[in-house]
Amino acid sequence: MSNTTVLPSRPGAGGPGAGASGKEKDVRRRRPGPTVGKSISVVLLVLGAIGMIAPFLWMFTTSLRDASQAYDLPPQWLPTEWDWSNYADAVSGPVPILRNMFNSAVIAIAVSIGMIITAPMAGYAFAKLDFPGRNSIFVGLLSSLMVPAQVTIIPLFLLMRTFGLLDNPLSLILPGITGALGVFLLRQFFLGLPQEIIDAARMDGATAWQTYRLIALPLAKNAVSTLGVITFLGSWNAYFAPSIFLNSTDTATLPLGLVLMLGPYGAGNVAQVMAATTIAIAPALIVFLVAQRWIIASLTQSAVKG
């Protein structure tokens, strides 16, 4: 096969080499109406993209309006006024949103730090160290990805209750600081690390810990950051376990606080709820703007490479 098959395996790396695109153009030119087809697909894609973004736009616009106009129809898509009072009201309302956000942040940060310490160590050991039972332990760990949270939640609830950890952030932090997915991601990375680098360090008299800490781990910086971001967002967005382990408004995480604020059957003040939701979405937006590229790359790679 020609050189065009040796495409960069990184997703989003752009088109193939210039030679291939030249060939492509020749074919295109002979084909009737490729531009018509392309216009239709752009229209479809635009419609889809509008459908994806419109709800967020509505959320933001509504958060800036007086509650009495929140449901005015026809809907206004762009902010007609820039009234931030809903944000102030949301924050000072009966549900302690700021407190809930702080709780979410504490849990998400603790879980992420724990994960980026434990997962790379284990991933390194499974990739580069030799010890009896290594592969069977790894397979066992991986199979835990198949265990849905709903099966373990009842015993976990009883466990937390026994140790007096219900309604305590530790009930979410402790189970969160280790996990098979992170180990798997980091093991994949370390497997790709040339053995010579490790051996050279060992020859120079570095201990196993030094080799890991000073040589291997710095090389895994990108993989570790990805894991940290994914873990943070996963914890920040979590609802199921927090809704069962936490049961007072002071310990509640932000998702729980927002559901409380929304009230049964959406009876809460819509403009304020949308203001609070806008705040809650901010971290995802920041992550999205800063790290979109490599998150997409690392998420898609495992699937395509199998």
Binding site: T5, G12, V42, F56, L129, D199, F240
Partner: protein, 318 residues
Amino acid sequence: MTLTAPKTALPPAPASGRGGQPGHRTAARRREALTGYLFTAPTIIGFLVFILGPLVAALYLSLTKYNILTAPKFVGLDNYARMFRDERLATTYGNTVLYVGAAVVLINGFALLFAVLINQRLPRALTYVFRSAYFFPYLVALVYVSIIWQALFQKDTGILNYYLTALGGERIDWLNSSEFSKVSVIIVDTWRNVGFAMLIFVAALQEVPKDMVEAARMDGANEWQVFRRITLPMISQATFFNITITIIGAFQIYESIIVLTRGGPGDASRSVVMYIAEVAFNKFDMGYASAIAVTLFVIIMLVTMVQFRLRKSWVNNE
């Protein structure tokens, strides 16, 4: 380096490929093994305490009657027998299976459509904008997007019905009718997850060899034949991954329903997971709830295993 004579008492060290004297080799290997165990210890402990232990405990609890206040009482398979007489369980399982089917078809269908469209030679900035727009909802918590959607779904004040009536349609009771409450849950689920599946497909489509496609076109194959005979087989790995992920995800659907419909009207949109949570944490019928949870686990495991079995027959492995 000083050579130390190998001690006969030591077992023969297997070739490790690394330097060092035979006498030191076993010591080094022992030390490496110890390091390996230390490095993996936190993860293994977490796995034992928070996954394997609870899993075994759930299996045990599913054979007991347990209301938290008094000690668990062993009742054999009673809880499992009870499931067959539980009409609410049948309803919630029915809903869940519907959600799973809809997720597999709709998420992957739309994702593949958008992926193929996006994978054309479009201006790079446009591709970037589209990819970002489709992917963003996936990063936002399902709770938050559900909060937005429940406002859009409101019967009298929601935007959806406004545009629907503007186009001459009837108002739909999205959240409180037994048919449309399910539809709403499916819409939100599809909307949020389509972007991730699309990215997986786009990544796979970029790996399809261009010259293979060109050659087929030269030979007179039309676009559909190219797609059916070349593209689809080449991206089967991604299709497999996406279907597996959507099945597992949809079986566990939970918080969107809580926000949108609270499972109602009645049980019309309630999922199995909601039912498990209700039985366990409102009625404190821990044994029965564990039994239902175990069936959910077994079903997810079976579906995954069947998927992997089928995989051999339709996934193209280079």
